[in-house]
Symmetry: C3
Subunit: 328 residues, 3 copies
C-alpha cells in the first residue's frame, strides 16, 4: 500500500478508482454515511451548481442516480441520453464537446461506449469529469456503491469472506470490486462460477499479489454459501456458453433462491449490480439479507459524496475522518 | 354514496379515482383553486422534493404537466420518456424499476402502455405512484382536470347538463368523466355520437344505477347544443368506420364550429382532452365558451394539488374544506 | 438607421434580430458583460420561473445553452428534444402546442426544422418565444453570441475588419452576422471563399446599402489574414462541389492552422459557430487568438441577458446603458 502522496479531490476528475487514495475512498464512505443521516443539513451544499449528464449510451439507472445526487444537494442538471445526442455526435470530437460543456456546468458525469473516452474527456474539460462507465472498462461509482453497502452492513470493508458468483469472466463490476478490496486487504474471496466463466488471470494475480488476501475457486454456490459474509451475484447469460445443454444444466446452480439462502449465515449480505433478471428469485427480496436495493441507495449517497467533494463544496457539519483512524 | 371510511392521501398512490373519496376529490378541487390564486405562497411547498416521471410511452403534454406542477411547488424532477428508456426496459421488471427509483425520489408519475402497470408499480414502490395513464385503462388526472374546469366555470360539478360528443365507444376520458360525475350525482348526460361509436353498456349501466342522474342518446349535435351547460368534444377517427362513405357523411356532424356554437347557451363550456385535430374549428378558440386551454391549466393545478397532498406537504395558508359544507 | 420607436423587451418574443433595436442589442451586450462579472448576484434573478425548450429537431449544444442560462438565473426547465416529441407531433399544430405550453411556463425556446415556425409559435403563445433556429432561416441567439465575442475581445463591434471564410453561400450564421453588423455600421468585410461558395447577392446588397461599410471578395485566406481583426471560420463541405478534384484542391486553402495563423495580427480573434470538424486544426485551440470556446460562453451569457429581459426580471445591481452613450 505504498501509495503516492494524496492529491485533494477538489477540482479533480474520477476516471478510475486508482485516481484516488484508499484514504480518500474511506473519506467518501464516511461522507456517504453522514449524508444519509443528515439529508436536510446537506440539502443546500451545492446550491447554484449545475451537473451535466452526458450519456452517449443510455443507462437510465445510472443517469438518474447521478442526477438525483446533484438535486439532493441543491444543484441542478442538464444533459442528454442516447437518442437525444445526435447533434452532439455530428462529427464533433469528445474533446470539443467537453470544452463546450465546460462553459455551461460545474461538473460532468459521462457514459460512453468506447474504452478510454472518460480519460479523453477529463483531459479536455476544465471542470471535473466523473466516469459513469466507458465500454467494458471502468465504472468506478458502481464499486463505490458496493463498498458503501459492505460498510453499512458490516461497519467495515475488510476481514470479510466475499463470495462472487456467476459470470466472473465478463462482469467488470466484479473485477473492479476485487481489485479495490485488494487495496484495503484482509479479504477472503470465494470465486463461484462455471468453468466457462472463471475469473481472468490478471484479477487472480492481483489477489495473489496481496499477502493479506486469499481466494478459492469453486463451481457450486450451495456448497460454500454457509461460509460467506457477502454474496455478490451476477447474471449467467446463455450466449456465453458453447451449447445450450451446458447452459441449461448449469443455470440453476447460479440462481439464488430461499432454499439456498437457508444455508447462509443470518447476517450475510446479498449484493447485485442490477438489473436482475432471474438470477435472484423475487422471493429473496423480502429476506433481510437482500441488500441489492440498499445498494441502489448507497450508489446515490456515494455519488452525493463524490460530486460535493470534486466540487469542493463542504457538507455543513461534517467532520472529516482522521487519517490515523483510517490506517488501522 | 355509501363510501368506506376515508384514508388520508398522505403517502398513498393514485391508480384510479376510485382509490379516493368524493370528499377528497372536492378537497383537491378546492386546493387547485387556492393554488391558482396563491401561486407565490405555494411556490416552496415541496422544496427539496424530487418527482420521477417514468414514461414508458411518450406523452409529452402529460409529462410536462406533471413536471411543471412539481417545479411550481419548488421541487425538482428526474425521469425518462420513450426513447430514453431502453436500459430500463432491458428485461427489468416494473417492480424492480420502482424499487430502484423509490430510493431516489419522493413521488412517481408513471405512464405505461400496459393495463394494470400502475397498480403493479404502486405495490412495488415505497413512495406514492400517480397513474399518468396505463393502456386504455385509466388516466385519473385527466378526469381531475375536467372536473376542475367545470368547477372553475360553474362553481359546481353537479346540477349540470353535460353533453359528450364524438367517439363515445373508445374515448376513455369520456367514460371516466361519466363514472366520476355519477359519484357526485345530479347530472343530465346527453350522449351524442354516431351509431358506430355509442357509449358502452357498462357506462350506461353506471348512469342508470344513479337515481339522481339521467341520460339521452342522440346522433345530432346541432339539435341538442342549445340544451347543454357543458360540451365535451372528442375526435371521430376515420379508422373506426366500416366504410369511408359513412365517415365522410357523418364527420361534419361532429365538428364544432362557430355556426353550431351560435345556437348554444352564452355560458356553455366547451371541453376537449387535447390534442385536437379538426373536430373543433380554430375559429372557436377565441369564443369565450372555449375552455379547452383552461383545461390544460386546470390539469396542472390539479396535479399540483395531488402531488402536494400525496407527499403530505401542506400548502401555506390553505384552509381545508369542512366535510359538512361538502355533503350538500 | 432610421429605426421605429423602441418597444420594451418585457413580454415580447424574439424571432429575428430585426424585432429589436440596435440599442436593445447593445443593452443585451452590456447585460451579458455584467452577468459574467456578477454570477452570484444574478443567480436568483429568475427564481420560480420555468423555461420550456421545445426542440422539434435535436440541437444539443443550443438546447443545453438555453437551459443552463435559465438554471444560472435561478429558474428551472422542462421540455423535449427530438425523439421524445412524438406525442406532440401527433398531428397537433404548433399553435395548439404553444397555447398548451403557455399554461405551464413563463418563456419558451423553440427549434423547428420549418422556416417560419418560430413566428407562428410566437403568435400563438401567451408567453415570450425565443427562436432557437427555424430551418435555414434565422438563429438570432447565435448572432448575439458572435457579437458578444467581438465585444469582449475588442470592447466594440464597429471599426473592425471582419473576415468571413469558407462556405459563405449556405452558412446562415454568416449572413445574419453581416446583416446585423451593417445595422451598426463601420465594418470592413473580407469575404473569403471559393467561387462555388460565394456570398449571396442579397447579402452583398445589404453591405452596399450601408455607406459606412465596405467589402472585398477574395479566394485566398493566407493572402489576407494579416489584415483581419476578426476571422470567422465556417466549414467547406465536400458535397457542395461538383467534383472531388475541385474539393481536394481547395480544401486546404480554407483550413486554419498555426502556419497560417503566424501571419495574423497578434490580437486577431478566431470565431467559429461550432461544431468544428477539421476546418480549424486542433493545434490552434491553445493560441490566445482562438475565441470559439469563449463564443460558447458568450452564447450562454447572451441567453441569460435575453431570457431575463424578455421575462422583465431585473438583474440585481445592474445599471442600464444610457441611450446617449450608445449612439456614438
Amino acid at each position: 500500500m505504498s501509495e503516492q502522496p494524496e492529491v485533494p479531490l477538489k477540482g479533480r476528475s474520477l476516471v478510475t478508482l486508482d485516481d484516488i487514495s484508499t484514504h480518500q475512498i474511506e473519506e467518501l464512505l464516511h461522507k456517504a454515511a453522514y449524508i444519509d443521516s443528515h439529508r436536510r443539513e446537506v440539502a443546500h451544499t451545492c446550491d447554484g451548481r449545475v451537473l451535466a449528464t452526458l450519456f452517449y449510451e443510455p443507462s437510465t439507472r445510472t443517469r438518474l442516480s447521478f442526477e438525483t445526487a446533484m438535486l439532493r444537494l441543491g444543484g441542478s442538471v442538464i444533459g442528454f441520453a442516447g437518442a437525444q445526442l445526435s447533434s452532439v455526435s455530428k462529427g464533433e470530437s469528445i474533446a470539443d464537446t467537453l470544452k463546450t460543456v465546460s462553459n455551461y456546468v460545474d461538473i460532468v458525469a459521462m457514459r460512453h461506449p468506447k474504452e478510454g473516452a472518460a480519460l479523453v474527456a477529463s483531459r479536455a474539460a476544465s471542470v471535473p469529469v466523473i466516469n459513469a462507465g466507458d465500454g467494458g472498462h471502468m465504472h468506478p461509482t458502481q464499486t463505490l456503491a458496493d463498498l458503501a453497502t459492505l460498510m453499512s452492513r458490516f461497519g467495515r470493508i475488510t476481514n470479510l469472506t466475499v463470495g462472487l458468483c456467476g459470470d466472473l469472466t465478463f462482469g467488470r463490476t466484479v473485477h473492479s470490486l476485487i481489485e479495490t478490496l485488494c487495496r484495503f486487504g484482509n479479504v477472503n474471496f470465494v470465486l463461484i462460477s462455471p468453468d466457462e466463466l472463471k475469473t481472468p488471470q490478471y484479477v487472480i494475480d492481483r489477489i495473489k499479489a496481496t499477502p493479506s488476501c486469499s481466494y478459492v475457486e469453486v463451481k457450486d454456490l450451495a456448497a460454500v454459501i454457509g461460509d460467506l459474509d457477502v454474496l455478490y451475484m451476477t447474471r449467467v447469460q446463455q450466449e456465453r456458453f458453447f451449447n445450450e445443454d451446458d447452459y441449461l444444466r448449469l443455470r440453476d446452480t447460479y440462481i439464488l433462491d430461499e432454499e439456498k439462502l437457508s444455508h447462509a449465515k443470518p447476517d450475510m449480505a446479498v449484493l447485485h449490480p442490477l438489473p436482475r433478471i432471474n438470477e435472484i428469485a423475487v422471493e429473496v427480496d423480502n429476506d433481510p439479507r437482500a441488500a441489492y436495493f440498499e445498494q441502489v441507495k448507497n450508489g446515490m449517497l456515494m455519488r452525493m459524496a463524490l460530486e460535493s467533494s470534486l466540487l469542493g463544496d463542504e457538507l455543513p457539519g461534517y467532520v472529516p475522518l482522521q487519517p490515523k483512524e483510517v490506517q488501522a
